[in-house]
Symmetry: C2
Subunit: 357 residues, 2 copies
DNA sequence: CTGAAAGCGCTTACAG
DNA sequence: CTGAAAGCGCTTACAG
């Protein structure tokens, strides 16, 4: 009898049963204080017997806020962003009372971007996280983006900081520099770098960091020892082989991702190169698995869930600001924060001798 | 001037400018045929000049459909489900014109479940994917679940099939059996199993499959060689050590996840056990990395994105059925399908001699 | 082909 | 403390 097939129970139904106005029921539902304890309990009871569930849709339409944040990603390529980062976002969104509306983009033509933004506007999301990785000129539209042209605030993650656009990214330049310095500090003389795709902002920054470290050490000639991978494990091996062609005396390699580094370790093993004695290897990401590789992999920890969290908080801050409301303390995020990686040294770069220098 | 701060442009605004009724504008927006080419172009032009974006919210309220599917997950534990599976869902949802509303649960008390369902009802999602892994009695509520009590259909993934509840899962029993048969076929006599958490349905099924294979082979005495892990890489090593205590002559191990298998490989290496000569090792998941481990890992491929896709299609089918509408061909999914894993044999179980038997 | 009316289920001022 | 009215922006019959 109380089946879902029945018509939806509305505020009006409750009001009628309780013998009050919709108004009053609304007050009870929203916890207004201006209701007698008497009527409140009566209304609550009617809500219960009728199994009333307020329609969020209707509320959203009248209040103009959807308590929803749109997340635009590109699933195919952003492995980490799509997986681990979601966890950070979902959790944070939940805490702040927002739901996440997930959308995916497959190309970044200006038409597709317009369509996506229009969709989000139609859905009236309260804010947008632009989570697609910056590939080529995929984010070029942000260069001329006028924040005021969008009815809701937008925060980009893992993209190049731009004036007028909120961005939460890792300091990939610094990551490249710290990694390279580490290999230099081991006394390695022929270091190579297997970068991520060269059209990625993240990769480019890491390459710049690597160059900077080499320059600091007066060894800029190594800068040509760079090959391109695609982040994925299967490009690690071929990357190593190409590096060995460029630089046969290669004795260390800074790999752009732990997954490619796994490929490098496999290839080194196949080639009979001892790690770290003959070849020091390090990656970026510090996957849970990395500590258990053979040998355990030195890496740069990248706290992706944290990036997602910070982005969400910043977004909520912007949402509140636009509405002229105070924002929660937790949302006091600095402008365009650059999150840092941490170096975790393990056996793949640490051979007894050199380490204890 | 056309800033977003301005009031929202509505159907009425367009109607006024075009000198027609809201009605007609609505027809144009929704591509109705009963509009003169003349008025259509005029209206379209007005839409363009005004930058009109129809409010999905308002449409949803009047049509009663949100074109949104609620996905309930539990981020902390469902690494794969939360990451890779989302990609399959998002993609499929997009194709079928739905957006995904992501929610996370941290506990499975009946109160939390009720709250979550109420939330989804309030949001008026068109359907629900229940994606939390089945842990202990987390899904017990489904045993007495009356589908008609929910205003929208629900599909559970990776859970025990139950009468009256749509479920899309892997055939983990068969996976356990196939894996164990593989190790038996190699001539191994002392096989062990590192299971996932014993309170997980998935783990239990695999253990049952493993027992079944042993029974078939008349070697049920091996069935006691089971220890529990938590799916994660760090429990692989300890798992192996405990197995060696139980069964010092251990010569093969069926590991419940590739990530734990990575831990096992690391531990075996540390103990001086040769893989596969002394110890054959295999996992489940067939991660991209697994082919590049040392040695390359035999595994059972688990197409998680496909599970997500299938679940979404089945859900869309149910949504259409409830409304008495025909459903897309792609949604003709069988009831409670069990997806299968594929055995991928690699070096970690394949030593020359035994393999060529 | 086109339009006036009523309704989706809430909330926001405004009175009492 | 409580209620009648108008409105959020669209769509669904019903007429013409």
């Amino acid at each position: 009898m109380n089946s879902a097939a029945d018509k939806r129970v509305t505020l009006a139904d409750v009001a009628k049963l309780a013998g009050v106005s919709k108004q009053t029921v609304s007050r009870v539902v929203n916890g207004s204080e201006h209701v007698t304890e008497d009527t409140r309990t009566r209304v609550l009871q009617c809500i219960d017997t009728l199994g009333f569930r307020p329609s969020a849709l209707a509320r959203q339409l009248s209040t103009g806020r959807s308590q929803t944040i749109g997340v635009v990603s590109n699933g195919g390529q952003g492995y980490l962003v799509s997986g681990v980062a979601y966890l950070g976002m979902v959790r944070q969104a939940d805490k702040m009372g927002y739901a996440l509306l997930i959308k995916e983009m497959t190309d970044f033509s200006s038409g597709s971007i317009r369509t996506m933004l229009d969709y989000l506007i139609e859905r009236q999301v309260d804010g947008v996280i632009w989570a697609g990785p910056e590939i080529g000129d995929s984010h070029a539209w942000l260069d001329t983006f006028d924040a005021a042209s969008l009815p809701m605030p937008l925060v980009a993650i893992n993209a190049k900081p731009r004036p007028g656009v909120d961005t939460v990214s890792f300091d990939n330049f610094e990551a490249g520099r710290v990694a390279t310095r580490h290999l230099l500090s081991l006394g390695r003389k022929n270091i190579g770098h297997i970068a991520g795709p060269t059209n990625r902002w993240v990769s480019q920054q890491r390459v710049e960091g690597w160059k900077a470290a080499l320059a600091e050490a007066g060894t800029s000639e190594m800068a040509r020892n760079v090959v391109e991978g695609d982040w994925d494990v299967h490009t690690g091996g071929p990357g190593l082989r190409r590096l060995l062609e460029i630089c046969p005396k290669l004795d260390a390699v800074f790999v752009g991702s732990d997954r490619m580094a796994i490929g490098v370790l496999a290839e080194a093993h196949k080639l009979g190169l001892r790690v770290p004695e003959d070849l020091a290897v390090m990656g970026v990401d510090n996957l849970p698995e990395s500590a258990y590789l053979i040998p355990p992999l030195t890496s740069m920890t990248q706290d992706t869930p944290r990036m997602a969290e910070v982005a969400l908080r910043l977004l909520v801050r912007r949402i509140c600001e636009r509405r002229g409301e105070p924002y929660p303390e937790a949302c006091a995020i600095p402008e365009n924060p650059l999150l840092t990686h941490d170096l975790v040294v393990r056996q793949s770069t640490l051979c007894g001798k050199l380490a204890s220098k």
